[in-house]
């Protein structure tokens, strides 16, 4: 039976020329796990919010939304649970237990009932360990799990989540998805999830809905998605966002059942190409050239008594290379970047930029045409009401003559593809647009070394590819880029070299193919599928190329 049904749903924001949604007819079965995906701005968020009457945006709506056969607006409060993207801003109160109780307090339930349900929910989600803590002290993953638990306290029949893992690191994201799967499997709760990181959710979904420019492109079981997309257009942009196994499969145009997981992808490759040896790929030479940034035996801790975060970190970054600094949570990646940016001073050791120690750059000289840092949250970069004002401010600070400013800004905006956004408020942009805008502002200082903190956080596959190409273009022009990231797929595609940071020191620095070939766990999904056959195939394209070479030898 369909729990949620839309009939020919269209929606237009007030004052907008184009409709945000056009004729969407969708039917969600009770107990199913549905993933909604599509490029940024395709109308995912609008669609999901329309399902939740309390959050429905204002605008012109036609068509019907039925929840359990009735108009959705008449559902009891809490019957539809909604989890948003940002883990922080959804939390209302200061204590974990209070946050859990908040929804039931609103419904006016007796204290004893609340006590019981709070206890039950906390044990189901394994919250009891941090039950009495302040919400402010939790990690991002814990916060998002708390948001989920707090919504489930209301005993919803339908759970809607709008990109809930986009702000989490991969491990916390996988835990969160596992919790969702548990709820769906064990409680039979209907889950409707919008997501752009599809690697984990795609295989566990019952149905995948793809939206494109406000229209429902398809609504199919996951295995049928790639073939359908291929039949619509052989180079459909959505194909790049699918899990690695699917991407490898479609590169081969092999037909047959489409593999979804690493395990299936591995079997798929081994059945076809077992025993086909390929000549090893040409060895990637480490980039040669002068040293742009030299980190020498740096030790750092935040408080006098606290443990060391960095323990003798040494790293030489060559001019014109793109280096990705990888590592788990708490390995000291962000700290290392802050030290390279001169925001924190090392306790011992030193950092040299173009052969000069950082602390000898005085009076802001360090940040003028030398070094720039793009922080993790691009919002922290903007302080003005429009993007144009923000960029102008940067140009003024860099003492660009007023006559040249407009031209310089236009050129930068065109290069990054944000020319149409200059009049917008920076907070109104989407995640990917915000990232580009922040990058534009940072690049206006004309740095020789660019430091990036988690540049792929919260942006979708298309924006990620764009970013990757942009960084390539920058390094080709001689800029040096150091990016701290969790995202192994991004590092494999974009980096000239990858460095692995663990427990405050660098354990290995190598070009990506060698780097990931030597790792067993910490590597890309494509590499995990193919490493039994071809160890140095790291990206989906490389695996596909290996497959094609193997076909010729068969």
């Amino acid at each position: 039976m369909a729990l949620l049904q839309t009939e020919n749903l269209s929606f237009r924001y007030p004052g907008a020329e184009k409709a945000a949604l056009q004729g969407v007819s969708l039917s969600i079965e009770a107990g199913s796990f549905t993933v909604v995906c599509g490029p940024s701005g395709c109308g995912k968020t609008t669609l999901l919010r329309l399902f939740k009457p309390e959050l429905a945006p204002a605008g012109e709506q036609t068509g019907r939304i039925l929840f359990a056969g009735e108009p959705a607006a008449s559902a009891r409060p809490g019957a539809i649970g909604f989890v948003q993207q940002n883990p922080d801003s959804q939390i209302v109160t200061d204590k974990v237990w209070h946050e859990l109780a908040f929804g039931l307090e609103n419904l006016g339930l007796p204290v004893e009932t609340i006590r019981r349900r709070v206890g039950e929910t906390a044990s189901f989600f394994g919250i009891q360990g941090w039950f009495r803590q302040k919400t402010d002290e939790l990690s991002g993953g814990q916060k998002q799990l708390l948001n989920l638990a707090a919504v489930l306290m209301m005993q919803p029949r339908l759970l809607i989540l709008d990109e809930p893992t986009s702000q989490l690191d991969p491990i916390a994201a996988a835990d969160f998805i596992a919790a969702l799967q548990k709820i769906n499997r064990e409680l039979g709760l209907t889950v409707l999830l919008a997501e752009h990181r599809l690697e984990e959710v795609f295989p566990i979904a019952d149905r995948v809905a793809v939206l494109q420019e406000g229209r429902l492109l398809l609504h199919e079981p996951p295995r049928a998605v790639a073939p359908k997309l291929l039949s619509i257009s052989p180079d459909h942009p959505m194909l790049h966002a699918l899990p690695s196994a699917v991407r490898v499969w479609r590169h081969l145009a092999a037909g047959g059942a489409c593999p979804l997981t690493v395990r299936e992808g591995r079997r798929f490759l081994e059945e076809r190409y077992a025993g086909v040896a390929l000549p090893p790929p040409p060895v990637e030479a480490p980039p040669a050239g002068a040293c742009a940034l030299d980190v020498k035996n740096v030790w750092f801790r935040y408080e006098k008594e606290s443990p060391d975060v960095l323990r003798g970190l040494s790293l030489r970054v060559t001019r014109g290379e793109m280096l990705c600094l990888l590592g788990g949570n708490g390995a000291g990646k962000t700290t290392a970047l802050q030290i390279m940016a001169g925001l924190d001073r090392p306790v011992r050791g030193k950092v040299l930029l173009h052969g000069r120690e950082l602390k000898t750059y005085r009076g802001g000289a360090l940040y003028r045409h030398n070094l720039a840092l793009l922080p993790q949250n691009p919002q922290t970069v903007f302080v003005k009401d429009t993007l144009r004002a923000d960029l102008n401010e940067m140009l003024a600070a860099m003492e660009t003559p007023p006559a040249e400013r407009a031209g310089r800004m236009e050129q930068m905006a065109k290069e990054l593809g944000i020319a149409h956004l200059l009049a917008a408020h920076p907070y109104d942009l989407s995640g990917g647009e915000q990232q580009k805008a922040a990058l534009a502002k940072v690049l206006l200082s004309d740095p020789t070394v660019l430091l990036l903190d988690e540049p792929t956080k919260g942006i979708d596959a298309f924006a990620k590819r764009g970013l990757s190409e942009l960084l390539r273009a920058l390094t080709r022009r001689g800029m040096t880029v150091v990016a701290v990231t969790h995202d192994v797929e991004f590092a494999a595609e974009a980096a000239d070299r990858c460095a692995f940071l663990f427990d405050g020191e660098i354990l290995s620095v190598e070009p990506p193919r060698n780097f990931f070939a030597e790792n067993n766990f910490y590597t890309t999904a494509a590499n995990r599928m193919a490493r039994g056959l071809w160890k140095t195939a790291v990206t989906c394209e490389q695996v596909a190329a290996c497959c094609r070479a193997a076909e010729e030898r068969l």
Partner: protein, 293 residues
Amino acid sequence: MKAFAGLHPAVTMTYFVLLLTVCMFLPHPVLQGQALVCGALTCALLCRRGAARDVGFYLPLFLLVAVTNPLFSHNGVTPLFFLNGNPVTLEALLYGLSLAAMVVGVLLWCKAYNEVMTSDKFLYLFGAVTPKLSLVLSMALRFLPAYRRQARRVSRAQKAMGLYAGSSMVCRVKNRLRVLAAMVTWSLENAMETAASMKARGYGSGKRRTHFSLFRFRPADGAFFAALLLLAAAPLAAAAAGALNFTYYPRLSQLQTTPAAWVAYAAYGLFLLLPAMWEAKEALVWRCCKRKI
């Protein structure tokens, strides 16, 4: 001090309110002395680590207040010596000591209050009176640290872009203002999402909100409550009956030694020791339990 802090907030709150009332409105040397000594003891038990550092703050404060009064007040009939032609009197000196005991005593008990009455307890009590305001306070407590952290992030991000360049006063004030402007936008943006999250969980659905808390009123709380009421009643009743009158000027009055006064002293002493005794009782129970295991 786990046991005392674990009591029901209403009990601990009543205790501190009564105690501070007596401290501030019954200026009697015996009571003040008791409050000072027991306050120091309770504070030492509550925060063992910082105790040594606190002596360095409270002792000079005590001396300062005690010495200031006789230097400026020349009331009293028993001059001890003359300073710049002004008499320093015994009465003024003793009044200074009494004042110092009261100030430091109240401060010490306020410190104990701070240690025991955490924000959630205060909110709980407050919530019983006005649930709306209590929710607002809880949200504020959640918001402030988040705000501080974001402000720090913004100012560091600005610095790393070279926008915090100048180090002059004007530059710094200007930069503060820039960050503040960004923070206003951030707060509003955040508030929208928080509001959405609240609405999504039934806030403002028209039902009367319940006020949930983790605190329970247990028999032990009842016992402590009864004890504290009984013990506090004695000095208050004695004071009301005029059995605890004491004046410093122009000459010291006699300290009362009537049975009523003795009862009041003893009861107040016990009252002040309640937290320490409660702790000792718990420690004893714990030790017995352990031995049985």
